[in-house]
Symmetry: C2
Subunit: 257 residues, 2 copies
């Protein structure tokens, strides 16, 4: 008898109808049994938000290459929780993949990203988990190269021992596949948004504020995700949920607390 196919949970933050998640499902559909549970509407920038004070809904949707697919009324993290404890119940996914996101989730974006929070929630559940993001925000982005690398990295993840307590943050440069130089394992760059707000007046004369920002990389390290992406490598950063700044503990112990 053939070995049981691995169960792959697919989610994202752009919503179940986005092209990126369809590209991801297509890329992995023959590597296992595919369950899709993804938000019923875009949830970009939702970070690790979780729905505590109202209930969630699930609606079955058609997905050619998935065994089952659902639209969920909650956040990306809700989708992972509800897939595991509401839909599957008696079986745990062998892999959680999130994306392919329309837009970068490198460096500091990891903390704002719904795509990466879904992957991190998979890690919290002790399941090998990967978030994939393409450096193109457009709804009509070309996912060919990203899907190719997603498939390759998923295959490797099913074959190798996955790092404990961590998920992978994979970003793919927005160039044709033959321009991509390969894959680099990196650390998160110290790069940040320089934020600002546009203050405008509504027709009633009351102010409202639009967030706008410029991304700035001040990290010169060649071992960072930003460096890799700038040089047309796919970046892979292992990301964990232990947020302790261990290096700061000794210093804090000198305070008079």
């Amino acid at each position: 008898m053939a070995a049981k196919k691995p169960l792959i949970l697919v989610t994202n933050d752009d919503g179940v109808y986005a092209r990126g998640i369809r590209a991801l499902v297509d890329a992995v559909s023959d590597l296992g049994e595919v369950l899709v549970v993804a938000p019923d509407k875009p949830q970009s920038g939702m970070g690790h938000a979780v729905t505590l004070h109202h209930p969630l809904r699930l609606e079955q949707v058609k997905y050619e290459k998935a065994t089952r697919a659902y639209a969920c009324s909650g956040t990306p993290v809700d989708c992972v929780k509800l897939a595991i404890y509401g839909v599957l119940k008696d079986r745990t996914p062998d892999l959680v993949v999130s994306g392919i996101n329309h837009g970068a989730n490198s460096s500091i974006n990891v903390i704002y990203s719904g795509t990466m929070s879904a992957a991190l929630e998979g890690a919290v559940e002790d399941i090998p988990s990967i978030g994939f993001s393409l450096l193109d925000h457009s709804p009509d982005a070309d996912f060919e190269a990203a899907a190719h690398y997603a498939r390759m990295i998923v295959k490797q993840s099913l074959k190798n021992e996955f790092p404990e307590g961590a998920c992978l943050n994979v970003n793919i440069p927005n160039v044709k596949r033959d321009k991509i130089k390969g894959v680099k394992v990196c650390r998160q760059a110290k790069a940040f948004w320089k934020d600002a707000f546009d203050e405008r007046l509504d027709p009633g004369g009351k102010p409202y504020y639009w967030l706008k920002g410029v991304f700035e990389n001040q990290d010169k390290g060649e071992d960072t995700d930003e460096w890799a992406l700038q040089h047309n490598y796919v970046s892979v950063v292992p990301v964990h949920y232990d947020l302790t700044a261990h290096h700061a503990i000794a210093n804090l112990n000198t305070w008079n607390l």
Copy 2:
């Protein structure tokens, strides 16, 4: 001439009208100039969510012990961004404090917590930042001991060199002040929620799902926040936004990527 008073930005995730944030403002009001920018409604479990696709509103509110106070229509992270770039513009806060949260934000809760995400956003902005949480969810919780320790830790933070790229996650046990044994600098415990969903039917017969969970600490370490809190210590965990699992990089480099 007296030295300029430090500017303290106060926010939370329970909303500007919660008792916890009032207790925090009262505790620090004579230590600096206090600006309050906090959500106009409860935002628990919002994690690091940020509002990208619609504008934000600010409404001035009365706050006896603050120089200025605003209710913001966004998430806790939005409040920090809007305070710095929309309200203040030409001046940066010397300290960001978030809380006092009604409920624990120890161990894994740090990634779901709006209170802690606001503090982490302060760290991203390179501002000394602290999140305070009391281990009591009740709206009428007794904040006396928590406010006492918040004041002490704020004083120490204004006096000492703050750890770079990190904020502090401070949790206070829910006991009277004379029962608290002191303060312990800790690491985040490996403790998790064992999730489940209640599946119920609405009056129309369609299912909906309520998240419920039981908290389980399987970390026996005596250097953890959970240990400290269980033994009636105030826990202080330095928390940073570099999510790289540095220890996993060597292993990933052995994969055939």
